[in-house]
Amino acid sequence: MEELLKKRRTLQETMNFMAALSAGIEPILGRGANSMTMSAGRNLGRKFSEGARHTDDLLEAIEEVRRILVANSCLWGFEPFKPVDQHELVSVTENGARQVSLVFRDCMIRQALFRFGHPQQGSLCNMMYGFFAGALESIMGKKASLEIKHAGENACLKVLTVEA
């Protein structure tokens, strides 16, 4: 138990360091900071999804991403969301891209940012965009983006778009 508590403290310190690091590089690198974290996330997504099942179904691909995250001990709770007046979870844009809204609940990035008083939607949040882009490139073989539509105190709403 003592060993676990020690590791818990280490985890907290690591995440706080990550938040401080991301907040520190943003004023120096500007938009480059987002590219850097996005790229790191994409590499991680590709690496984790190397042995993932391939599918062209967006909802199945999202489930595969969830499975990959769980298998790699990453607890990022998310779920597909649709407004009441929308019939299907997946919508298709004018240029044929498929979109689905995702609600992210338990997120250690958000918790780390709040603990240090950093704003949301910064470069560290962009890492998740990169992760989804990397993982979905492997699973579906298509380009994907994860746009932050709303960053809330208890949950975030993001829109996942997979190109046609």
Binding site: L4, K7, R8, R9, T10, L11, Q12, T14, M15, S73, L75, G77, F81, P83, V84, V103, R105, D106, C107, M108, R110, Q111, K149, H150, G152, E153, N154, A155, C156, L157
Partner: protein
């Protein structure tokens, strides 16, 4: 099921909740000059409305509260391999 209520007497009609809600859960009643919950089914429980409301008029029930990862032993056990 998630519940959301606006305490009518506390609401000042500032409409900040309408502005912050990403899923358009609220409407504004012009007659009473107060916000009302229009579609609770759209609520994602981000709690932004509740945090931004100057008079603390909005409350939620039966929703998922985020877990502080560093206070969760189960989480720490699973994250061990990254440390």
């Amino acid at each position: 099921m998630l519940e959301m209520t606006i305490h009518e007497k506390a609401c000042r009609g500032c409409q900040l909740c309408l502005d912050v809600c990403p899923t358009k859960c609220f409407t504004f009643n012009e007659e009473t000059g107060k916000a009302v919950v229009a579609e609770v089914g759209n609520c994602i429980a981000c709690l932004s409305c509740s945090y931004i409301c100057p008079s603390g008029a909005i409350s939620h029930a039966n929703h998922h509260e985020v877990q502080n990862f560093y206070r969760n032993i189960h989480f720490s056990q699973r994250m061990e391999k990254f440390l």
